[in-house]
Symmetry: C2
Subunit: 194 residues, 2 copies
């Protein structure tokens, strides 16, 4: 089992965004969709052992978290528009603090990053961070959780909270990569070490 | 300098595709757009030392190659729709066998994979291939060219042609990754070794 958490600062928390303008009206919903594809997909196959939690913190009603579970998901596609349409439809559902299953493998709840981290605290959590330990020097334990920020990054108070549960901060090196590239790279590194 | 070539089998070679249906009417133009983003973008910045040639072999008039050059490109975005719109506009231009500059950093020509490879033959060419040598065992020379196929792969006759010029076939391991993930992983490996 491999888990990703993508923390977003501006991604919309209702369905009132234009599917033809994911970066603007969606609050970088293009980035969210790309990360879901990067985490779950191999060529021609979904990874059944991968989950991604996407924490949406944009207007009008944050936080909302959507969980995509590779073990159960069906009929998804790799393109941003299709993935964003699933998010839009999930956001049209009625849901509260508990997980609501919208479709097989797509769940939604009014949960914050801190609540998601508490749910996952029995797995080893690694926080991607520019100033973290170089990944080549990090021992990756079984069933890792990888926390990635978006283009803005994780708020200080959330980062402090997460570090109470996390193993350590991990860096991918001198460059700062797109969140979707980070996820592709981590999937590869975990595959290599398995 | 780092160069990618993405060879596609079905991506449309005129502008007559629906920007709201990149996978279907565009012949997997979503995949093309994602690969361009994965090759050129860091977080908040374009890589000035990266180029990607996209060879389109779909209907109605293949082959067409579009070159995105990180050293010169302006006003691009990371989302699939915006990148596909640039491709659509480039395909509306008049162009022939020689490179036509559509915008700074976006060039287009009626060139095949074989013609692109001949243009790049003075750089070391590596062909991504499931049965290639494991990348951890490959010495990456300066100014590498990385040839990636799409979800269908490179035709046998083109692969044979390319191997006359190529250093070797290279594998990323046991899994078969999305082309965009391959590009993210290779960028990371090249960054690490630099």
């Amino acid at each position: 089992m491999r888990t990703f958490i993508l923390h977003t600062r501006q991604a919309r928390t209702d369905a009132n965004f234009n599917i033809e303008d994911l970066p603007g009206s969606g609050g970088r919903m293009d980035l969210v969709a790309r990360c879901i594809t990067a985490s779950l997909w191999l060529s021609h196959a979904i990874r059944p052992d991968v989950k991604i939690y996407v924490v949406l913190n944009g207007p009008p009603n944050p936080p909302v978290t959507i969980l995509f579970d590779g073990a159960a998901i069906q009929k998804v596609s790799t393109d941003e528009r299709t993935t964003a349409l699933w998010i839009k439809k999930a956001l049209m559902e009625e849901f509260g603090k508990e997980w609501h299953t919208f479709r097989p493998g797509i769940l939604i709840a009014r949960k914050s990053l801190q609540e998601v981290v508490k749910e996952l605290k029995n797995q080893p959590i690694y926080v991607l961070h520019e100033k973290g330990k170089l990944i080549s020097d990090v021992e990756i334990k079984e069933n890792p959780v990888w926390l990635c920020g978006d283009h803005i990054g994780i708020p200080d108070k959330d980062e402090k909270f997460v570090m109470r549960y996390a193993e350590e901060k991990v860096s991918l090196g001198k460059q700062v990569y797109l969140a979707s590239s980070c996820i592709s790279i981590i999937n590869w590194i975990c595959d290599e070490r398995a």
